[in-house]
């Protein structure tokens, strides 16, 4: 079991982070904490991609004078990094929108506690 986890450490770490993120989104009453949970979830996925692109003993994917070699396996896979740049942008955009929502909600309701928000809406 330990060996299994150690051998695939990044996967298990991702899984644990995702569960933490989801837990935060479910269990926390504060909308800010829910948002933090969402961020953890997104970060976990970014980590997953980056970890997946890792290659033991490979170099930065930049072809320069005196690079160790020019074969594909000499470099870390650059594509997931590029994808994650996009994903981070998307994530930031969502977080930004969500924060803007929170500001408006706070202005409107005077609280960010989910229960009392729903209580106020229901009335």
């Amino acid at each position: 079991m330990i060996d299994e986890i150690a051998a695939r450490f990044p996967y298990w770490a991702t899984a644990v982070l995702i569960v933490i993120g989801l837990y935060g989104m479910i269990a926390k009453r504060s909308l800010v904490k829910k948002l933090i949970g969402m961020n953890i979830l997104q970060s976990a996925i970014i980590l997953f991609f980056v970890a997946g692109s890792l290659r033991e003993g490979a170099s930065v994917p930049i072809l320069f004078e005196g690079a160790p070699g020019a074969r594909a396996e000499d470099f870390v896979n650059p594509l997931p990094h590029v994808l994650m740049l996009t994903a981070i942008v998307v994530g930031v955009a969502i977080t930004g929108v969500a924060l803007a929502f929170l500001v408006r909600l706070r202005e409107e309701f005077g609280t960010l506690d989910e229960e009392s928000l729903l209580e106020q809406v229901r009335r």
């Binding site: 989104m25 994903a87 955009a93 969502i94 929108v97």
Partner: protein
């Protein structure tokens, strides 16, 4: 001549104008609507041309920036994509025209951002339809969702809460989809759908592929409001401004369903989602449950918008059932239902919006006597409702007809019973409205009557809505009949070659 550029021309005008409109509107807020309409019309024209080109010469492909796939991002328009693109762009164009007045009334001081978001939403949706790249699909998915969150958030106090909750759930959906794409990527080394399909065809035995399939299914399940992941939908549709839910209800979830279909048609190998991973079975079971639960929930609603929202849950579930059965006929039925449901839900939500904004009423009990006061609005509602129930020769009948046939052919008797039985349940909740509208004496017209939305700037006693609201609605309502009668043309020329 290579017509591939048409693929990119579908989302491009929307995207460009989405950026331009908020800026222009700061100077002249009156320009927001014509510019948005122009973009939407341009996009519709591009989809129609693309459909024509596909019918003539087969699928179109466009490599973004000249990078040949699978390295670069590819945009692909095949029969199915062209079909869905035409549906989405043309329905939303009509809705944009029909809701102009309501948008001014509801978000008058923020027209620029509003139309910017609307266009962004449509750009995202049409992008999802034409992209041939898994990661690009994610980006468009998030673009459209982001715009939808913000639009729902514009709907007053309740809309704000609904919008935030929608954002939470929607983001989980996007994240799970992305994670699934990650699994697929590490299993195949590519993100191009066709390329993924080619590699998986050769070898799809890995665990990563299975995990990816399930994650993508769950993520898209949230986006297409598959029971039990639909819980964001009723609130979002109910509390969004009327000019918004009229737009997102017909097209948004439908594109989620289309993305799901894409996974079946052009990513995973034939039968993989059936035999290796029980995605198809899950869709079938959840779809059947969704039809029943959605219909029952719709029956007990007091607010027309919420009733229509639950009806959407049921109808999306029917699309899921079609995917779950998975035979060509069932897929045809599912695609046909994507179109039919988009058209009839647009007609229904348009007339609900017309009622709400002309009278301030949105509760089922408040429509009493409206059949005489707003004859055209209620006529559109009636046609939409009849089609929703599935009375021939309206469009809604024929998707159920094909779906039930596919069920019989596969020996899935439960599908037949549920799909046909849902007609009866639909009749129950639709006739609750129709009976009150036509066969009850008119409700006394009192300002601030119980049930009127607190934020509705109602003009009690108003008669029929103005012509520019009514005619798009009538076009949509008439389309439910025309598309029903002409369904064979669509099925044989567009859908059958596509599946």
């Amino acid at each position: 001549m290579d017509m591939g550029y048409l693929a990119i021309l579908i989302p491009l005008p929307l995207l460009a104008m989405a950026l331009a409109v908020p800026v222009v509107a700061r100077v002249r807020s009156g320009a927001a609507f014509p510019l948005s309409l122009a973009a939407s019309v341009a996009s519709t024209a591009a989809s129609v041309l693309a459909l024509a080109a596909v019918l003539e010469g087969g699928p179109l492909s466009y490599a973004l920036g000249g990078w040949a796939p699978p390295v670069g991002i590819e945009y692909v328009v095949d029969h199915v994509a062209a079909f869905v693109a035409v549906v989405v762009t043309s329905v939303s164009t009509l809705v944009i025209i029909g809701t102009r007045r309501w948008a001014i009334r509801e978000v008058g001081d923020r027209l620029g951002p509003f139309y910017g978001l609307v266009l962004l939403l449509l750009a995202g949706l049409s992008g999802m339809v034409v992209t041939g790249d898994l990661f690009n699909l994610f980006v468009f998915l998030e673009i459209s969702s982001l715009a939808a969150y913000a639009l729902v958030f514009m709907g007053g106090r309740a809309g704000m809460v609904a919008g935030f909750r929608y954002l939470m759930l929607g983001t989980i959906g996007g994240a799970l989809y992305l994670l699934g794409v990650g699994y697929l990527y590490f299993a195949t080394g590519t993100l191009n759908m066709a390329d993924v399909a080619r590699i998986l065809e050769a070898d799809s035995s890995g665990r990563a592929v299975a995990a990816g399939a399930v994650l993508i299914f769950t993520g898209l399940g949230i986006k297409m409001a598959l029971v039990p992941l639909h819980l964001w939908l009723p609130d979002a549709y109910t509390y969004a401004p009327s000019s918004v839910n009229t737009l997102i209800a017909p097209v948004m979830t439908k594109v989620g369903a289309y993305a799901m279909l894409r996974m079946f048609l052009s990513v995973f190998p034939d039968g993989y989602l059936r035999d290796a991973v029980p995605v198809a079975d899950a869709l079938l079971v959840l779809g059947l449950a969704g039809i029943v639960l959605g219909s029952v929930a719709a029956m007990v609603q007091t607010d027309i918008r919420r009733m229509l929202a639950y009806s959407s849950v049921a109808n999306l579930a029917m699309i899921a059932v079609g995917l779950g059965i998975g035979t060509p006929l069932a897929l045809v039925a599912a695609l046909l239902h994507i179109m039919n449901h988009a058209v009839m839900k647009a007609a229904l939500f348009s007339s609900a919006a017309s009622v709400r904004l002309a009278t301030g009423f949105s509760a089922v009990g408040d429509v009493a006597g409206l059949g005489r006061r707003m004859p055209l609005t209620m006529a559109a509602f009636t046609l939409g409702a009849v089609s929703m129930i599935g009375i021939p020769p309206t469009a809604g009948f024929f998707s159920k007809w094909y779906m039930a046939q596919a069920g019989v052919a596969e020996g899935q008797w439960l599908v037949v019973v549920v799909v046909l039985g849902s007609s009866l349940m639909t009749a129950v909740y639709m006739f609750r409205v129709l009976e009150r509208a036509y066969l009850h004496p008119q409700a006394p017209v009192v300002a601030g009557v119980a049930g009127a939305a607190p934020d509705a700037p109602g003009v009690p006693g108003a008669a029929e809505s103005p012509a520019d609201v009514v005619w798009p609605m009538m076009v949509l309502a008439a389309a439910t009949v025309v598309l029903g009668v002409a369904n064979v043309v669509i099925v044989t020329h567009v859908l059958e070659p596509g599946v």
